[in-house]
Assembly symmetry: C2
Homo-oligomer: 394 residues x 2
Amino acid sequence: MKERGWHILNEDVSLPVAVLHQSALENNLNWMNRYASASGVRLAPHGKTTMAPELFRQMRDAGSWAISLATAPQVAAAHQAGISRILMANQLVGRANMQRIARMLEQGLEYYCFVDSLANAQALSHYFDSQGLTLNVMLEVGVPGGRCGVRTDEQAMALCAGINSLPGLALRGLAFYEGVIGGEDAPARITAFTQRMRALALTIYQQKGFAPGTVSITGAGSAWYDLVAETLDGPSLPAAMQVVIRPGCYLIHDTGIYEQAQAGVMSRSALACDIGGDLISSLQLCAYVQSVPEPGMAIIGLGKRDAAFDAGLPTPQWFARPGQQKPRQAPANWQLSKIMDQHAMLTTDADCELQVGDIIGFSTSHPCLTMDKWKYIAVVDDNLCAHRLIKTEF
Amino acid sequence: MKERGWHILNEDVSLPVAVLHQSALENNLNWMNRYASASGVRLAPHGKTTMAPELFRQMRDAGSWAISLATAPQVAAAHQAGISRILMANQLVGRANMQRIARMLEQGLEYYCFVDSLANAQALSHYFDSQGLTLNVMLEVGVPGGRCGVRTDEQAMALCAGINSLPGLALRGLAFYEGVIGGEDAPARITAFTQRMRALALTIYQQKGFAPGTVSITGAGSAWYDLVAETLDGPSLPAAMQVVIRPGCYLIHDTGIYEQAQAGVMSRSALACDIGGDLISSLQLCAYVQSVPEPGMAIIGLGKRDAAFDAGLPTPQWFARPGQQKPRQAPANWQLSKIMDQHAMLTTDADCELQVGDIIGFSTSHPCLTMDKWKYIAVVDDNLCAHRLIKTEF
């Protein structure tokens, strides 16, 4: 990068480009760490959102207990980048995937994965025991119609006994993902489910069903982490038990589904309000006006290849003519009406002053599926000047 | 790669994995080249679909006139890989993008881009003329409510005159994209629009509005290329004029929206039927059963991170237990009911025999948005044995 940086508004870089605002990243990192401290839980932020090892290291250095990931290749990318404690919030399935994890265990990685069937437990036991290794696992419980996880306490107790009967496995905790519980009464159902998980974990603990050492109860994506953290209530658990929450989107955040979810957190949680401030969307996409073919319509050089589109289209935040020092706020009635692979259609006003070559900054909804479109993301200061690139490992 | 190859069903590779069937690739390459020959048009396949320079070279070597692309970075990736004639089926906007293209022109790239406004023409003229370069452009015409392109013949003629008044630009053809025309009567409207484009190009040609040399009329995505090719009717045009079609999905194809579109081609075009055979979906995703948490439900280790989901979810084609030599055909009633970032929910039968660790092969719909999820794609033989990797440059 240039010593003085690369100015987006001065056309120093090829657009479209994805940028992360440094000030927002720092805000979000600090905010969530304060929330975790206040609620007495540990953080294992889900790294799948960004798959950016530099951001993993920042979250680790800020005090996260572990980084969560979803697949063996994701674990390999993080381990390669120096992350030494990883929670794979998923089943480890398949010979080649087990082989990859085994080599990392031999290199010193502290690793945990979820198990929700005796068949998978037996396959893992067979492989890891044959390698002279012990695999840390957490028993996953799910909800009917949901995703992975045994459905009933009886199934959980039976699987617990099954895991403990197998060599090469150490049961280190109880895991769940409440994000698949939806509907109008989701908060009440999530709270009830989390209460059940707390009781189940305590039962297994009291029956000495976990391996000796620290025991984790882990749940929580980015939408309901307050309910999970405050219902599990880490400080009230036995000293050997810890609560680990796995929000993944807080560092990037958005102006769509996670902004809404965070508004829910702030409306529910006195703890979240008391710590002051809030999460801020840190990711923007900067793109050119390619064409203004009709009054009130601009075609933007930005598409499904550049931005998530599964939870609302990107939202115009600002616009500028190249060379201008400061962008101006986009009118509230500008909006994307359609997105194609490499283009988006922006609805403006009939007398809109936008010209071909103007630059528009968009915020997004669902950071995971925007991040995975970019190999490099520029980190910018408040003047939209980029000073470094963050590499992603999708 | 191993000398003997890597067998998917023998778990030689980490799943999920994207594979391209060599036999289907060859079939599709040959089929579309035969169609282009039969209809007397040239091919400039849209490379954005795969962004795989190895596949660009295969299409070039099989006789394509050029490779189409959408952005300056895509052009750079193709040029770097040895593609020497590129049609950028889009506006070239912004200083850094112009700079990238100018450096490639100096290195000998034959390049064309679309222009649909005097403002853009002036910006291009200013930049390329200042560099002592001449930029080949094609005048883009669009439809009301569509994407880029001037809307009327009058606007087109005015822009033609404008381009010809500017230094540093050479007008090499007329361009359009009919794929934004939808609705029940799309075939009739596309045919009428294409007839208008043919007449407009001939008018500009007769008025000596194009630069001396070969003049292109270019349109056609993957859905309506027969209507465009057969309506433009290249063999009946003046010798200096050629028709260039830009289908991008034929090499990969799918079992969704492009399978449907191709069925439309086969129902309309005697030429397409006469050449024999048809396109075949060449891309599959192979993934594990991660969990069978309830009767009739399997959770698959495959998600929005791995597959397009904007035009129908992936379709189960086959399944196998690791170590089996041959996969079995998936029952017709198996289907994905939901997809999340890293998981998909498969609905099966209550007495389904699927187990954790079984492998399922899925076909997809909309190849562009599956291809861009993968840095490497394995090319497999008919036994699902991979012999080489294709690298993508998204």
